[in-house]
């Protein structure tokens, strides 16, 4: 009688443990999806803002065609990438291109006095920051998720139910943080 109770008890405990692990994986996976959606909202906002900025500064920056074109090209390329691994580098390139425009803008006092341009600059800056912070947040959760499905013994449950590791956003932090210097004397 009593050994049976112990065995039954052990089975119930294991079942409860499996359930709680399974649920925690699902919660983390949903959070990752949510964070990814969040990033995409901000990315889309940036794609929408960039043409406005270019339109606004084009009139002033007649001699900076290359800088503006590189932004447009980077934007087109970034819009094509749609997985975390490919999107990271493409977005970094776009960030750098936009920063180049900001750096060149410093040389045009008229631009810096233009209300509309200033507003666009603030909008783009905050969107970029939001992208950067969402990516950090995304990577943090992905790390927690990957860790939780790889450690022993929860890795068994992850394998049985087919939880796969997620890929990180590849970011070059040094490029994101510092606005690059642009030499205008060439």
């Amino acid at each position: 009688m009593s050994p049976l109770i112990y065995i039954l008890g052990a089975i119930v405990l294991i079942a409860l443990w499996v359930m709680s692990k399974y649920n925690s994986f699902v919660v983390l996976r949903n959070r990752i999806e949510n964070a990814w959606a969040q990033i995409n909202v901000e990315l889309k906002r940036r794609y929408d803002l960039i043409p406005n900025l270019i339109e606004a500064v084009k009139g002033y920056m007649k001699y900076e065609k290359e800088v503006l074109e590189s932004v447009t090209n980077a934007r087109t390329e970034a819009m094509k990438a749609n997985t975390p691994a490919t999107s990271g580098p493409a977005e970094d390139k776009l960030t750098q291109a936009v920063h180049n425009v900001f750096a060149v803008m410093e040389n045009y006092p008229d631009l810096k006095a233009n209300e509309n341009v200033l507003k666009l600059q603030e909008e783009l800056t905050t969107t970029e920051n939001k992208i950067a912070f969402s990516r950090q947040f995304y990577n943090d959760i992905v790390m927690r998720y990957n860790q939780s499905i790889q450690v022993f013994p929860s890795s068994f449950i992850a394998n049985i139910f087919g939880f796969k590791t997620k890929e990180y956003f590849e970011v070059d932090q040094t490029q994101v943080k510092d606005a690059p210097k642009v030499d205008l004397n060439i």
């Binding site: 969040q38 507003k119 603030e122 909008e123 800056t125 905050t126 920051n129 939001k130 912070f133 969402s134 950090q136 947040f137 943080k177």
Partner: protein
């Protein structure tokens, strides 16, 4: 670590509410006893009522009480102002809900957060701060306040500020009543208020240092250092906050709106005219905060 912090803040808040309630009920008992025969029971009932009302006000609308006491105005979430953008960025970085954002019409550069949890939090920034700091520095200060929200430091600080502030208010109300009734009684009987005067004197003598101590406890150096460190994590850049602190160290604009109750909540100690300034100066020295942040930047 952060969960320890949250639990400790909740525990402290409970102890505080309990302790203040006992003090209020005791004070009301003595006042009632002195007022009339068997007035002590009535005093206890009134004291308990006051405690409950005070707690409910400070818990559910403590932030609005404090915000309206400094005349803060809410920032429209749809206006794409730089301040709101920066708050939004920090809420993304911390994974917290976005707090309500307020601007205080005060030329002294400062900021504070209040509320009971991240879903019911408010972040107020003085106009002076917005004028003084650039975007990165503002981001550092906002991140510091956001980590107070995340750690639930705001729960304890808000309850202290509102409850302690109201105790002082009630105390001064009783004092005025005493002056009034005291003179009246003197006219009628030519005495009898001596006992009341004595007891009120004792009550205030007990209340004043307790309230001062509570306000002092509301901020601890450790808590501020922790918030600075979390801010550096949130922005991934300690230099913004360090440079903000350096700028704030150099200005000393007298605040026009801040008061004793809100003072401990602020980002840096407001330059108020305290009677006992040394008693209240529990904010960590700005130089220390800068040094710690610079060390973080150096390690990175």
């Amino acid at each position: 670590m952060i969960y320890d912090q949250i639990a400790s803040n909740k525990r402290k808040s409970f102890v505080l509410v309990f302790f203040l309630s006992v003090v209020i009920i005791a004070a009301c008992y003595f006042i009632g006893q002195a007022w009339m025969v068997n007035g002590g029971i009535l005093g206890i009932v009134i004291g308990a009522g006051i405690s409950v009302v005070l707690f409910l006000i400070s818990y559910y609308s403590g932030d609005s009480v404090l915000l309206s006491s400094v005349g803060a105005k809410q920032v429209d979430p749809h206006s794409s102002s730089q301040l709101y953008n920066v708050v939004k960025e920090m809420s993304i970085s911390s994974g917290c809900a976005t707090p309500k954002v307020f601007i205080v019409p005060d030329p002294s550069p400062n900021a504070f957060a209040a509320g009971r949890d991240p879903e019911h939090a408010s972040l107020a920034v003085n106009e002076g701060l917005l004028q003084l700091l650039n975007r990165e520095e503002l981001q550092g200060v906002v991140a510091h306040e956001m980590s107070h929200i995340q750690n639930r430091d705001i729960l304890y600080a808000t309850i202290v500020a509102v409850m302690a502030g109201m105790v002082v208010l009630i105390a001064s109300f009783f004092r005025n009543t005493w002056f009034y009734s005291g003179s009246r009684r003197r006219n009628n009987q030519g005495g009898g208020s001596g006992g009341l005067l004595l007891i009120l004197g004792i009550v205030f003598a007990i209340l004043a240092p307790i309230v001062a101590k509570l306000i002092q406890l509301a901020i601890s150096r450790q808590r501020e250092y922790l918030a600075d460190a979390s801010a550096a994590m949130m922005t991934r850049d300690p230099s913004g906050l360090a440079s903000a602190l350096r700028k704030l160290q150099q200005v000393s604009v007298k605040p026009t709106t801040s008061n004793d109750a809100v003072a401990p909540l602020y980002f840096i100690e407001p330059h108020l005219n305290f009677n006992a300034a040394s008693l209240f100066s529990t904010h960590p020295p700005i130089e220390d905060r800068i040094a710690r942040l610079e060390q973080m930047a150096y390690i990175k």
